[in-house]
């Protein structure tokens, strides 16, 4: 017979104001097996924990039930207390009478009844609890960072500086991401390349960092500490060992028809190209779609001019298998497509541009060498209209319901850069609200208004009518109720940010979840902001939600610290609450293998004696290291051969029985 102790927490008034504690104490006292019960104001306090520890010793308790808050909060606290008192921690059970009871009910009588039922269920289960001992697995001391923007670079540097190997996988030919495209950065207006390129160089020179550019993660298996990953290195058509980055091929390539991705389509690039001068690695790729050699078989100019013979038209995609202890996802963001916002004429008029295009237009290394001119006629603009919230805070079918967060600040930056370059050029900003939460941000935006004479107008633009060589912008000042018509020379749209189109595929590959906007979901919005629900996989940067550079970098370092926490351990403790198969009952149907989301169940052949003959039979087998204890297999199993340790079918039924009594 087990000796059960029950401890009931008031949680101040959180529980006690809705649940009559005395009645709960009285009710459980008479349950078979219960030899001790005690209530206390804050069971999680040191005093409370000591009550548990002391009672275990004094009353020789063999099972403990704590009726308190959610096990997500303090299960580990009480398990530690039980362990300290010499009890296997898995012999302790939590009854959640706060989140599942007092917080969600008003009627004290009914809530008290429910608290009693929940506590009785926990007692019934605890009696059937078995001592469990967690296993250990080794840790691969190497991290994988997916995405080579500022988030990925920072994460990789931090992990590498802590002494661990890092593989940084980047889809495009160079690391650098969106930040490499920016001209200046708010709120200090320092040059983006000046602060980013040193980090890019650091990453490429670091002996612990391996950059796989022009590569993609293709497959991820395994679990925390032991991820098995396949990386596809796309055929670059260049021998990276031989290439010196001299750039002769880029200059001589006759196929200069493709729009430069880095220049946001504002200029053309050759079929063989490095995205930008400071690219890392400084090795070009051949875009096989536009390359004459690949399209027609004729040309081959680059191979002829290459002084080191680095051009390799025969190169094939290669696949690399690697093991990692932790994975950090830093895949970044995109801007939305503006095709459905026809009223802004973005697709139909060259002088209507996005904010990112503006960055390239004012950048000294950009398509106009930093001369800010209208794309249509290369003339200097006299009036520029900026429109914020193009697709942001837009819950219609064509927009995104969230605030893109960075636009208020970069629009203020753009308007100031414009007024700085051309003091005689007028700048108008249409906004719904100006949001400048952040250190030095409000002051920055006010400078645009107060020192730079930027005209801020609360209101939106209805439509842009290209008229003659002007863009007639029909807007409204919603505060004064004036409808406005501005003859602009250029319009800059702050288009909404969005998750990368492939984010949900990456999510599926990694078994991490995405929200309704396809941003990756953190494990807890406040307390676990860089972790995912999948142990060992972390998030940083705009792939988790719209974010500016300071926040991205902070999150990147946080994710690195979390990853280092895993990598620095030689062994990881397993969750012992995993499934196990009773082979004598298993029918070998393998329905469980199909339902298991973690691919933790495989088939195995066993030999069995039936009527004196040895027969080989197929059964299911659980890999305890992969099993996450979700319990899906236990309900899928038709013969009932699978049990989840700590949550066996018997235990669950005992709980149900206790509640129904």
């Amino acid at each position: 017979m087990q000796r059960v102790g029950v401890f009931i927490c008031w949680c101040g008034t959180n529980i006690s104001s809705t649940v009559n504690i005395d009645e709960v104490v009285a009710a459980v006292k008479n349950m078979p097996g219960v030899v001790y019960s005690k209530d206390y104001q804050y069971m999680c306090s040191e005093v409370g924990q000591n009550l548990v520890k002391d009672a275990i010793k004094e009353h020789n308790l063999t099972r403990v039930v704590v009726a308190a808050c959610s096990p997500r909060m303090h299960e580990s606290t009480f398990r530690k207390a039980a362990k300290a008192a010499g009890l296997n921690p898995y012999l302790l059970e939590i009854a959640n009478i706060r989140e599942h009871c007092s917080w969600v009910h008003k009627d004290k009588k009914a809530a008290t009844q429910k608290a009693i039922s929940l506590t009785k269920a926990a007692v019934a289960k605890a009696i059937l609890n078995q001592p469990l001992i967690p296993g250990e697995v080794g840790v691969e001391q190497r991290a994988l960072v997916i995405g080579g923007g500022i988030a990925g670079i920072q994460t990789a540097l931090d992990i590498a500086d802590a002494g661990y190997e890092v593989d940084l996988v980047e889809k495009t030919p160079s690391i650098g991401g969106k930040m490499a495209q920016l001209d200046k950065t708010f709120p200090t207006l320092d040059c983006s390349a000046c602060i980013l390129t040193p980090k890019m160089v650091d990453a490429s020179m670091h002996d612990k960092i391996n950059i796989y550019s022009y590569s993609e993660v293709e497959e991820v298996n395994g679990f925390v500490g032991n991820f098995e990953v396949v990386i596809k290195q796309k055929a670059r058509s260049i021998d990276m060992e031989k290439c010196t980055g001299c750039g002769i091929c880029l200059a001589k390539c006759p196929a200069k028809t493709a729009l430069s991705e880095f220049e946001e389509g504002l200029s053309k690039r050759a079929a063989i190209y490095t995205p930008f001068p400071q690219a890392v690695p400084n090795v070009p790729v051949i875009d096989r779609e536009t390359c004459t050699k690949f399209r027609t078989g004729k040309c081959g100019v680059c191979a002829k001019v290459c002084p080191t013979g680095a051009i390799d038209y025969e190169q094939k995609d290669e696949r690399l298998n690697q093991k990692y202890g932790a994975i950090i996802v830093t895949t970044g963001y995109d801007l939305i497509n503006l095709d459905s916002f026809g009223e802004y004429q973005y697709a139909d008029h060259p002088d209507v541009i996005t904010g990112l295009e503006f960055e390239r237009l004012v950048n000294a290394a950009g398509p106009t060498a930093g001369k800010l001119v209208r794309p249509s006629d290369k003339k200097k603009p006299k009036k520029v209209v900026f429109i914020q919230c193009v697709g942001s805070r837009d819950k219609s079918e064509r927009g995104k319901s969230y605030c893109s967060k960075i636009c208020c600040m970069y629009t203020a930056k753009h308007a100031m850069l414009l007024r700085d370059k051309y003091p005689d050029c007028e700048a108008y900003v249409f906004y719904i609200d100006v949001r400048t939460a952040g250190k030095g941000f409000e002051e920055f935006q006010r400078r645009a208004v107060e020192n730079y004479g930027v005209n801020y107008i609360k209101g939106m633009v209805g439509k842009i009518f290209p008229t003659g060589d002007k863009l007639k912008v029909n807007g409204v000042d919603a505060l004064s109720g004036e409808v406005l018509e501005i003859d602009a020379d250029m319009v800059v749209l702050a288009s909404a940010t969005q998750a990368k189109p492939g984010a949900s595929d990456v999510g599926r590959m990694l078994s991490i979840s995405t929200d309704r906007d396809n941003f990756f979901t953190e494990a807890h919005p406040k307390l676990r902001p860089v972790e995912t629900h999948c142990a060992g996989i972390y998030l940083a940067g705009a792939c988790q939600g719209p974010k500016d550079i300071p926040e991205t970098v902070a999150q990147a370092s946080a994710a690195a610290a979390k990853a280092i926490g895993i990598l620095s351990k030689s062994k990881l403790v397993n969750n012992p609450c995993v499934s196990q198969v009773d082979e004598s009952v298993c029918s070998g149907c393998l329905a469980c293998t199909k339902m298991c989301p973690y691919e933790a169940i495989t088939e195995k052949m066993v030999e069995q004696k039936v009527h004196g003959k040895i027969r080989r039979r197929r059964v299911a087998e659980v890999n305890a290291a992969l099993c996450q204890g979700c319990g899906g297999c236990t309900v899928t199993c038709r013969p009932g051969a699978i049990d989840l340790k700590g949550f066996s079918n018997k235990q669950i039924l005992a709980e149900v029985d206790a509640i129904c009594q």
Binding site: R393, S396, G459, M460, G462, V476
Partner: protein, 137 residues
Amino acid sequence: MVSREKITPDMAKKEVVRICEISDENIVDCMQCGKCTAGCPAVHGMDILPHQVIRLLQLGQIDQLLQSEAIWSCAACFTCASRCPRAVDISKIMEALRLTLVRVKGNNRLDIEKVPKLLDKNIPQQAIVSGFRKYVK
């Protein structure tokens, strides 16, 4: 002239709820960006601008709206509705406001007796039928 309205959003709660019901639109979704006004092709005929119509509804100031020319200047072209970032169809709210008036007996916008005089020889039937549907009950 300075006038100060005491804000009592409840003062016309019933009427506001009815207008929301007739139009099947949610006025609290509006965040006063003014996109409707900025794009309204009939805005020169609006004494109260489209975004202000919603604001006044949010404040329960129904009387001002019912006395306005704005609700009669709306041509139901759906430009506002098709661009609204909050997916509020103002054309439906305008219709509900018009109906609030013309559904009361003797409140027709158009004097039927005078209709023949308004017509020229080219006016399509479509215009007359629309006029009757919009201005008369």
